[in-house]
Symmetry: C2
Subunit: 442 residues, 2 copies
């Protein structure tokens, strides 16, 4: 008999079916055993009744085992119907049962609130929890919606490299790689140069790229390896155009996840993010003035949280743009208009207390860019590949970079970005804790 | 005045417009100057007539400069209409002209047939050629279509890590990374373990991931950094299910690029790939017998090309599956059914002479997997993180991995996979040639 997917069971009431999936829940009531079985399409309750020939086998089934259940799809008695739940009005009455991948006894219940290290030590198991499945289902939807929005906005996707010859940002700490013949390479801290180069061929380009930061930071916001959703566009007047593209991408993404995953926001005890007709924009000085704090050249994490609370209360917005940072605090390629000195055309987007995006108009004039490099103590000779893009005609352009894990985390108000990373890497961990992993050489 | 995108110009005949873009072509006829201007949406011919106030400025415009042209959209005289070409019946009569990003004189014409090293040395420029724009537009469509097909087949996307604790395949050469506190990490040679782990949460999972291979191979097929499109699915009977999923994804991808890019296949003097109702499947032994060559434990590159010629001629197929490789020639986690010893349930997919995909049913039983590791001289303790997936219930599962660059290259019959890689890395090059780049330490 062919397998029936769990989402199709309600079409087979009164019929015999085969269901395959993982055992999420097992409740042994002695004379009968109840199961929640999940496959990619959903969850159904299965019951092995007293008279079922499968009862002895059902006693042996452990949670998380992969199983093949045969049985009849029955309507539940009215009193047992769970309204609004997938398959809440049916159950599978099991008459045959095969364990096709037996699970050992779990070290803890998957629904338990684990401390983060235990969660991370056991990811191949804990990623199966409803909480983790929610987070990464949502993340897949974010990726999809963000890409779709940028394609609708006429951007072309490209693949940016991870192995680079030097540190693109000229500042962030980069991991060193042993390359061929005793040469060294580095891991990209940003796809910045490559998306700027791609303005030449495509005018509007985006990439979903890995970035790697060797920062010794053990905060709830930092990862050694992260995923960024980057775009860059040419022929702009100012940073306002990339801000508008970004705003549309965020709006489309929130709209998509709200449509698909309303139930998740409930389970995570949060709400669908609020976005008013236009996301509020404050200059850095205005933000500090609004908070009644002294002006500083950057936003402190605490002030990021405070200004988000203000935006939510005063502007009904879970998002707020901060603009007009001092040029000297931004990457060397950030554009500064002479009339706006000493401020540059950069922006940050804050989401529920956290910076999830940073962007800017960039320098496009070859000579000015070389002069800026020298001013910052960088050697233009090391950037000769990148500089070709400017030598051969570059329009005013700009773009931004959104952190996928940060965006996912704030969407569901997760306390730590590591929970929004399928296999997070940090100072102390690559899968296993580094100090305990025999595969790591010291 | 607002900018008009070039694809919208035909709606503005008889109107004054502003167009912004790059100068692809400049033809100075003395009394007038013709330009081909491109933006993200297409190309249009612009003409600066003798009486135009912009004529002196037009003399200064260099190819690849970013420009802003103002003028009138005119119908072309009948004799100048180019049928079937975008904007082939209109031209822009320019009356104002601004160079917003001036290009230096190009070192060569972008339409020239360059040798590969010259092409790669100058990517920020050469990626702007029509040929490169075609290749990477097609690649973006492949990515999009492949993902869409897998989503339609109920797969969930996830992000696989690039930094790993050891060499996943237990064989391929991995690059070493200097991690924190004098510890070492490696760059992933495959997302294999992670997609298998993801069978637990999602049953069907896919990822577009970077893989890194430290192989000292300088062939037309090898890259140090490549992009793979990987999927994995649970609850299968054999390798036939992942083969069917893959076949559908390839079929959907070819169909999408055929719809969107028929003109490219013409420009590259190739044809839309042929896929019959079902892709032919040969065992390795059958393939060798068909070619009349001695049986070997793997396919030699020359035999891959020959069997593809056979499939095209005899089966009207540009693709052919090869199955039943000896288990000992496949990765340690490849499933071998006792009734099929010594052959395993692996498969390769060849496309126009080149292997673009490799897949298999995998081992799912914890004890058998540990035994196989020991048999291959691997230390199970080093795989403790991965092995959790099997400890806690894993169904029979399998999947495959498609090389994006190889698929792109064979789609357009490019002689070298590097041409299908936006920023290729190999033994001798990361952007610049390694021996010449001052940013590389030796």
């Amino acid at each position: 008999m062919e397998r029936t997917f769990i989402s199709d069971l309600s079409k087979h009431v009164g019929e015999s079916v085969i269901v395959m999936g993982f055992v999420s829940v097992r409740r042994d009531q002695g004379k009968m055993v109840f199961f929640d079985i999940r496959d990619f399409s959903g969850t159904v309750q299965a019951v092995v009744l007293t008279k079922s020939p499968a009862l002895p086998a059902a006693k042996e089934v452990t949670v998380e085992s992969a199983v093949k259940f045969g049985g009849m799809v029955n309507k539940r008695p009215d009193k047992n119907v769970v309204a609004g739940k997938q398959n809440g009005n049916i159950e599978l009455s099991v008459d045959s049962l095969e364990i096709i991948g037996k699970s050992q006894t779990l070290p803890f219940e998957l629904s338990a609130e684990l401390n983060l290290d235990t969660h991370l030590d056991n990811l191949p198991l804990t990623l199966r929890s409803e909480r983790s499945r929610d987070i990464f289902t949502l993340q897949a939807s974010i990726l999809d919606a963000y890409r779709t929005s940028l394609k609708q906005q006429n951007f072309t996707e490209f693949i940016a490299p991870s192995l680079v010859g030097g540190d693109a940002e000229g500042g962030a700490a980069a991991f060193k790689v042993e390359y061929f013949y005793d040469q060294s390479a580095f891991l990209a801290t940003s796809p910045q140069f490559y998306k700027q180069i791609m303005v030449g061929p495509f005018e509007r380009a985006f990439t979903i790229a890995k970035i790697f930061r060797a920062e010794k930071s053990a905060t709830t916001r930092h990862l050694s390896e992260a995923t960024c959703m980057d775009f860059e566009m040419g022929f702009i007047d100012s940073e306002l155009e990339p801000m508008r593209v970004l705003e549309q991408a965020i709006r489309d993404t929130v709209s998509a996840v709200a449509d698909k995953h309303a139930d998740m926001f409930e389970r995570f005890k949060t709400t669908i993010p609020l976005i008013p007709d236009s996301i509020p924009v404050l200059t850095l000085a205005e933000a500090h003035a609004t908070l009644g704090v002294e002006s500083e050249p950057d936003m402190a994490p605490e002030h990021e949280r405070m200004i988000c609370e203000w935006a939510k209360k005063e502007k009904s917005s879970d998002l707020v743009f901060i603009t007009r940072f001092p040029t000297k605090k931004r990457a060397f390629y950030t554009y500064e208009d002479p009339s706006e000195t000493p401020f540059s055309r950069g922006f940050d987007l804050l989401f529920r207390g956290l910076e999830i995006n940073s962007g800017a108009q960039r320098m496009h004039d070859y000579d000015a860019l070389v002069a800026r490099m020298i001013e910052r103590g960088l050697d233009p000779a090391k950037f000769s590949f990148y500089l070709q893009a400017f030598k051969y005609g570059m329009p005013p352009h700009g773009g931004s970079s959104t952190g996928l894990e940060r965006m996912t985390a704030r969407m569901l108000e997760l306390p730590n970005v590591k929970e929004a990373t399928s296999f997070p890497r940090d100072m102390t961990r690559i899968d296993s804790r580094l100090s305990e992993d025999p595969s790591f050489e010291s």
